[in-house]
Amino acid sequence: MNSTILLQQLVNGISLGSLYGLVAIGYTMVYGVIRLINFAHGDIMMVGMYFAFTGVAMMFLPWWAAFLLSMIATAFLGVLVDRMAYKPLRNASRISALITAIGVSFFLENLFLVVYGGVPKAFPVPALFGGAINIHGVIFPNIAIITPIVAIVFLLMLLFILHKTKYGMAMRALSFDMETVRIMGVNVDMIISMVFGIGSFLAALGGIFWAMRYPAINPLIGIMPGLKAFAAAVLGGIGSVTGAALGGFIIGIAEIFVVAIFPPLAGYKDAFAFLFLIFVLLFKPTGIMGEDLDRGRF
């Protein structure tokens, strides 16, 4: 493998990893605050894709408007899901909430199967995201340049909200002790809804970028990216947004290099991503950026 190919594979890895990271941030955000592994996150991402698809291909909106509307609509859907499915279980055991999340996941998948059918739809890719740039033989698809930038911008925005605003402070406080925060007069349900809104907004964003890179969408498309993003979030230290982004990059790059260096093993690359996760957890059970869980989060 010469240096051009090596560099090319690194670019491929970063671009794939930034997609995982983008989805993983939303995952970890919800976990950090209410300790719920939201298994429906991948499906919320799928919903974001279909909303954007509907906007562009069926309502003929300009792509940026359709994308923005889709993200807002998906955020509202996230809030709705929280209010209807998770809120009644706020004081139930954690396993009940987890199983409910799986139920929500099945519900969304099947709802979209009924509405849109099982045949994959072609996601319309705006010209801006379609091309590629060739620098000394290394190809940079436009989308591969834009995705990491978007991932980092939204990560910074999220960190800003968490650390510099009152709502963020409430979110961080919630992650320590929900009851005390409630006693302090914070509207806990409103803050949790916000968390779900932001998480779903980010899932839709990740979904749209996913769909622009792999423009075949079907109602079951969220499952695998959802699992990978979950692995990324755990690898980075679940509950830490920076860790989630980092975990995404690591898994993306690792996957690409498994395929690049050992082509016959490419059929098992998902297994490698999860094996890698298991190994890291053996040595560092809280993940790379996972701090002492009693002290700080995000």
């Binding site: 099982g118 994959p120 091309g131 059929g267």
Partner: protein, 377 residues
Amino acid sequence: MKRFLHILAVAVVSFMFLSSSSFAKEVKVGVVWPMTGLVAAFGQSAWKGAKVAQSMEPKAKDGSNIHLILLDNKGMKVQTANAVSKLITEDHVKAVIGAITSSNTMAGAPIAERNKTPMLTSSATNPLVTKGKKYVSRVCFIDPFQGLVAAKYVWNTLHAKTAAVMIERDQDYSVGLAHAFIKAYKKLGGKIVSTNFFQSTDQDYSAQISTIKSKNPQVIYMPSYYQEISLFARQARQYGLNQVIMAGDGAEAEALLKIGGKAVNGVTFTTHFDPHAAATPLAKKFLKLYYKKYKGQPDAMAALGADAYFVLVHAINEAGGHKATPQKINYYIRHTKDFKGVTGVITIDPKTGNAIKSAVVRKVENGKFVYVTTVNP
């Protein structure tokens, strides 16, 4: 009141029993096709074809209705096995049509075999599907032939001396067809410069594309399904990998054109059927009715779905209509000879259960499938 309800319930139940056993004579046939999931387009196409076929021949010769019971296998192995099991043990079907892909059919086949119920697949082309089985048959050709046709086309028509192969590791269809192609292509004198693998749920092929590009083959052989091929083609063109992509019958679906867009222009594949090469009277009638119902041309999956139905009904007729046992139906499926179906003349080898048929080469031109040539076995 309670007593009255009791009597009513008994009356309703007994009426249902009577009506199902003696009033309407019918032959139950199970259908296991993917209506959702990764290969949903195939199942939906095949079902369209089978519906049109059923409207042409809704009854067996003895006047009993052919009752199709459709179950969705989601394109997955476990669901296929469950569906075949349910159809045979709960619905007591006389025969099962399905599944579409080789891996799925292989998951359901042992159950049909164990229950001595015929299973007829419309489009599973891997040789292992029927191997060692007495009750599993098919109306399509098998992959060693398909691979040979592809290799000859690449060598003789495209004049390509080097090829790269993309294999979908967890699909028996892809693995089998790739090996058939590689064997035939090497025999002709061709050279495989790069062998790459991926799996069904993959959407990112950038690593494989970068590797293939560095080996610079003249053609890329990717025996896979429409979604994988269209995503691969899009990414390949983005990375400046512009060689012809050659594929198998799994490429043929409208979704390939829609998802692939401009990137799939030039994609060439071996398949079972082309409306323009339809020769038999049955095919012409089928095309007309299909157009009337769906305002379009049937693809290979639809034509094969119809053929599976026609061949099965023919066997049911020979076996004696609604009184026929599954074993007897199976005997006549296996002894199908010179049946003039939609996709051509079908003869099933009684020993192997495989059909011997000609193959068609089609390609994508300006966002449409066009006919290239027909190759006889």
